[in-house]
Symmetry: C2
Subunit: 366 residues, 2 copies
């Protein structure tokens, strides 16, 4: 973060026609984004693109969720057909939706379902669609970047190899860069993966040292018995792999997911380009811990979009030192909470662009 730009933003806030400090956390956010951009005012964080990284999970076999695994690929089709909640929220916000197959178990067809044909054509695993650009209001697009058709069961073996974890991270980094090259001023994290709160819990426990029971939630809404079982599965995975937080790639490979790894890369890619990345819920928060472990400075680009109802989300945000903008009990994922937060981020920046000073407006000070 650029100290001079932050000081300039702080000084500018004091001259604007409003009582000092009256915008609460939005003033701090504007100052930080000036520091991120290295200039005051920082650029308006638009257009915005939400990237929904999709993957499947071998740990699904342990019965950690009542939802069938094929819902992941069915929801990918739903995103591409603009039928999911994240599409509705993105339409309201004027944000673009990009769907990334980084680890879906079922091969996506070229022709089916609707929307796939409009996606970035036939990029191979690891190549995150050079042609992607950020034009809000467009149809959702698919990025084909499947690194592996779902992870292995992390409760009995590593979820993936180190090479696969690196490849997934690189998918995220590359997509972030492509989107910024295409004009995106804000990156928004999204995710889809039946069972993906289980690796998120394991990642949060590994990176923060919290107990499995304190970071493992009810995901889509499981009963007490399934929740107890899910906690035990996370505990077993942690005991089996003993993930070392000083080796973030190793942690992701052992107990992560392909979308978690790609999201970590997406955060790093946005931070490298000095573009704000709005974190959605517990999946993004767990990935953000991995990103912060890889590059601590990346935290400066992270904006906590909302506080997921998942307990691990609050643990992760506290560890990162981030306060969420929206706190409405959402636990859907897909990027929904982060998209809701985007207008707030944009408003915090717009103040530094548009608001008159006491001098220029001829308003008396106290």
């Amino acid at each position: 973060l650029d100290a001079a730009a932050m000081a300039a933003a702080q000084a500018r806030h004091a001259t604007l026609t409003k009582p000092p400090g009256s915008l609460g956390s939005l003033e701090d956010l504007g100052v930080r984004l000036a520091g991120l951009a290295g200039t005051c005012p920082p650029p308006l964080p638009q257009p915005a693109t939400v990237a929904v990284f999709a993957g499947d999970h071998g740990v699904h076999a342990q019965g950690v969720t009542p939802w069938p695994q094929e819902v992941t690929v069915q929801m990918v089709a739903n995103f591409l057909a603009s039928g999911a909640v994240v599409n509705a929220f993105a339409r309201q916000a004027g944000a673009e939706v990009v769907v990334v197959d980084v680890g879906v178990a079922t091969p996506l067809l070229d022709s089916d379902p609707d929307g796939l044909a409009g996606g970035t054509a036939g990029a191979d695993a690891g190549s995150a669609g050079e042609a992607v650009s950020a034009q809000p209001g467009m149809q959702p697009r698919l990025v084909r970047a499947n690194v592996r058709r779902g992870t292995a069961d992390l409760s009995v073996q590593p979820a993936m190899t180190r090479d696969e974890a690196v490849a997934a991270i690189e998918v995220g980094i590359r997509l972030a860069g492509d989107l910024v090259d295409g004009g995106a001023g804000c990156l928004i994290t999204g995710d889809m993966g039946i069972g993906n709160t289980t690796p998120a819990a394991a990642l949060i426990a590994a990176f923060t040292g919290a107990a499995a029971a304190d970071v493992t939630g009810r995901g889509t809404g499981i009963d007490d018995e399934t929740h107890g079982h899910k906690v035990a599965v996370v505990q077993r995975a942690l005991a089996l792999h003993r993930p070392d937080p000083a080796d973030p790639v190793g942690v992701l490979a052992a107990v992560g997911g392909l979308e978690h790894a790609a999201l970590a890369g997406f955060v790093l890619g946005g931070a490298a380009r000095r573009v704000p990345v709005i974190l959605d819920g517990v999946i993004a928060d767990s990935a953000a811990l991995a990103a912060a472990a890889l590059a601590p400075d990346a935290v400066g680009a992270m904006v906590a979009g909302h506080r997921s109802a998942e307990p691990g989300a609050s643990v992760a945000l506290r560890h990162l030192g981030l306060a969420p903008l929206v706190d409405l009990g959402l636990r859907l994922g897909e990027g929904t909470g982060a998209v809701l937060a985007w207008p707030i981020v944009a408003s915090a920046v717009r103040v530094l662009h548009d608001v008159a000073t006491f001098d220029s407006a001829g308003v008396a000070e106290k």
Copy 2:
């Protein structure tokens, strides 16, 4: 609220491609707005207009704030020149700004400052601009509806007469109706008035029975000594007038403000037209208590935009049974917190319009 429409919205939520309940409070909000509109899905709450009601306060003479009274009229000019924070937030949201002189002490000139000339021409006191329509992106407009040039000092006499309170309420009712006639799908409350957190505290104490010390805040940021003095002024006003919450007009006349009364009418006018009204901070919350006392059903149309840092705001919202959408420590007023909340309200409604069902999207249920 229409029970059948609410049941339809609830049932519709259960069929949409998301885990049941995963949108947290947004699901309840969508259901309630269906009940308000009497149809499911309810209309998208757009376009939105924020009405900034401006007034001055005789209690300013008691030294309850360090800001000079002329800042009220200076800020009216700033709103009309699009230089204030509410203008910046409204621009981001695509909302229209209407500025209403319901009680500013200084006469506004016809020609000065910029923007006044574009306002509704020369409407007299009490006539809230029939020509007003809701076209987002337009220049801010002025509604000339001055009922009285500032209130009397409520700590020594009634702030206004009952007739003046009724006239101010009618300004708000009429503007709400005009805006809805002009196409507005959502009304957003805003306010400007140096010293106006003092009458807000008195109103909240009168309607909720809370102690003055528990509802009197630091407004724009006063020191301990001024705060203690402000609490004493509110206590003195309550002891002098003994306002009866069963007589809401009497309460507004005794310890209210002209913008508070107009805002109460604005809420009632929106509720009468079954259009949601997003409450901003403590001024709107105090006015909403008056509206609820006049017509309890009006609460169904109220959406708590944010939780102001003013302590009275939380007391009022609890009394109304409303949970705020945004909670970021804002204490600016003008409508800023409510404008920030508008995209969240719109997103909650859009879900009921746009999201695919499990059946239509071919997504398996658990």
